[in-house]
């Protein structure tokens, strides 16, 4: 009788251990996820291969782009998020092709490809070691995913165990979203100017 009790106990114990192991095994996507480097808005964050500093973040309902004397208006059902930043390669020339807006609920918004033809957009800029370059990122994000957002920047979205800089966006005027922002080319120190209406 006592041996039967012991056996039942052992089986339950083994099942519990197996269940716990099954539940706590990290996902393959977790094991191979990028190594994240936390940064602050307004400060330089150094990864091994590149450095990034996120400056001002502008919001707008529509984006107007002036090119070749024509203005194109880009509407969105969400809100345009324009991130001004500077990036620099550290060891060899590279291009940061992946940037995401991570909303507070965990949703990921990739760079909007719609205005990707503007100069100085992050995935089109080739970065050289020691030469910081101003870069612009554009996201389309629903209003409820704005506050508490994080910008994730990586050389590539698919490299397992690659580097990823995460910058929490703390300075963001979510309450007052301007109607339109016009992006113009500029010959000044920054290759663009942003004009809020």
């Amino acid at each position: 009788m006592r041996t039967g009790l012991k056996e039942t106990g052992a089986i339950i114990f083994a099942a519990a251990i197996l269940y716990a192991m099954q539940r706590t095994t990290p996902l393959y996507s977790n094991i191979t996820s990028p190594v994240s480097i936390a940064g602050e808005q307004g400060k330089r964050t150094d990864a091994r291969a590149f450095a990034l500093a996120v400056g001002d973040v502008h919001l707008a309902r529509t984006v107007r782009i002036e090119r070749f004397g024509q203005t194109r208006t880009y509407t969105t059902s969400g809100v345009w998020v324009l991130v001004e930043a500077a990036a620099e390669a550290k060891r060899e020339s590279l291009t940061l092709t992946s940037a995401e807006w991570l909303g507070p609920s965990g949703l990921r918004y990739s760079l909007s490809q719609r205005i990707s033809t503007m100069p100085a957009m992050l995935p089109a800029e080739r970065l050289e070691p020691g030469l910081p370059k101003p870069v612009l990122m554009a996201f389309e994000v629903p209003e409820n995913e704005l506050a508490g957002g994080t910008v994730l920047v990586a050389p590539s979205a698919f490299t397992p165990l690659g580097e990823e800089v995460r910058v929490a966006i703390t300075e963001l005027a979510v309450g007052d979203i301007p109607g339109a922002v016009t992006i113009r080319r500029s010959d000044g120190p920054m290759p663009w100017t942003l004009e809020t209406e």
Binding site: T25, L27, Y28, S29, T32, Y74, T75, T76, S77, G78, E100, G106, L107, R108, Y109, S110, S112, Q113, R114, E140, V141, P142, N144, E145
Partner: protein
């Protein structure tokens, strides 16, 4: 052979028998269920235009189909071409921006010499890239229709579905995986008058 040895041998034989019969029963039940499901396959439901279709990763609502000589960009091609265009609303229900809608639906039955369609974002009149979660978009799929093929009066589309697996069977990674079609959509094709130069 002692009495004790004989009883353990009998016990082991019994255990083997139980395990073997149980395994056989499980295999037979599984096989029977597969055969039953294959012979009694549920027909894919037909959905009318304007009704939202939940495909797992996307919610898609077809608005209508039309033919025309001008692609959704609004720029007439230099060589006269005919396009078959399907308008739909698309909502990304997954957790990340994705452009995987391109293979979600197809013409049924497939036509071999029709190329895959190009997808346009209606608000930009330009080629669509990824659709963001929580931002539904009005989109247009445009097939360049070959001259040798007659234009269809009614278009039948088969809409596939995908499910999310936290751990896939091969790597244990998370992702979206194709499942059976969830809907057939029949759309009447509106014909646009073709007005060309010299006509």
């Amino acid at each position: 052979m002692s009495v004790g040895q004989r009883s353990t041998l009998r016990q082991r034989l019994f255990a083997f028998l139980v395990a073997g019969l149980g395994g056989l029963a499980a295999a037979a039940a599984s096989f029977a269920m597969t055969v039953y499901e294959a012979s009694n396959s549920r027909p894919t439901p037909t959905v009318a235009a304007g009704e939202p279709i939940d495909t797992g990763r996307w919610v898609i609502t077809f608005r209508g189909a039309r033919t025309g000589s001008v692609p959704p960009t609004g720029t007439e091609p230099s060589q006269p071409k005919t396009f078959l265009m399907v308008e739909f609303d698309l909502d990304n229900r997954s957790a990340a921006t994705s452009n995987a809608f391109a293979s979600m639906f197809d013409i049924d039955p497939p036509i071999t010499d029709v190329q895959a369609p190009a997808f346009y974002l209606a608000r930009d009149k330009w080629i669509a890239s990824g659709v963001h979660p929580g931002i539904p978009e009005h989109m247009i799929a445009a097939w360049e229709w070959p001259k040798a093929q007659p234009l269809p009066q009614d278009l039948r589309l088969v809409v596939g579905s995908q499910i999310y697996k936290r751990r896939d069977n091969l790597y244990g990674g998370s992702g979206w995986f194709d499942r059976d079609p969830v809907a057939i959509v029949a759309l009447p094709v509106k014909t646009e008058m073709v007005v060309g130069p010299g006509q």
